[in-house]
Symmetry: C2
């Protein structure tokens, strides 16, 4: 369930897979056949990528007769955003420390 940061990064690293996820984000719920048109790869490949995305918690699937509807799970991006903000946060800390130092030197 709780996808690791590593899984999320690895899953989004592939351009084809990221494009599928991006399309689900932009256009909402889509079936596999619809996603296959315009994906540039065969249907089995799309299914495999969707399975990866699901494993990483990035998409949900909903069975409906013989077709499966996939949709993006936006909340799954939170760990990625948090990590990035944490990393840039270290920079701000250093900047603050420098500022403090300069202020102290000023006095």
């Amino acid at each position: 369930m709780t996808a690791t940061r590593d899984e999320i990064f690895k899953t989004l690293a592939d351009p084809t897979r990221r494009a599928i996820f991006e399309r689900l984000c932009r256009e909402g719920e889509k079936t596999v056949s619809v996603l296959t048109t315009g994906a540039g790869v065969s249907q089995p490949v799309v299914s495999k990528h969707l399975a990866s995305l699901k494993r990483a918690g990035l998409v949900r699937d909903r069975a409906d007769g013989r077709q499966t509807h996939y949709s993006a799970d936006y909340a799954a991006l939170a760990p990625l955003i948090d990590w990035a903000h944490e990393m840039t946060g270290f920079w701000e800390k250093k900047f603050d420390a420098l500022e403090d130092l300069l202020n102290r030197m000023d006095q």
Copy 2:
């Protein structure tokens, strides 16, 4: 120079490489030999990862005698953050659209 989003994702996908970047973010500038201690891999591997990070614009290097100092370039994370926010943004738009629809049905 301007690293593509794909390069950034691919570069950060590897755990070892991401750990090196993370350490540079947390602890600031470090030499290759220092980074090698605790990296869990050999020095050539660290050098190769640093070259990848540099290619993606995630780190800078500074030559100093026979050692090379590497440091994180925090600004390089911006495309990643922007992309993630854009993706979640589509969700908010849909939410707003739903809200609008409900409001209109209410009238």
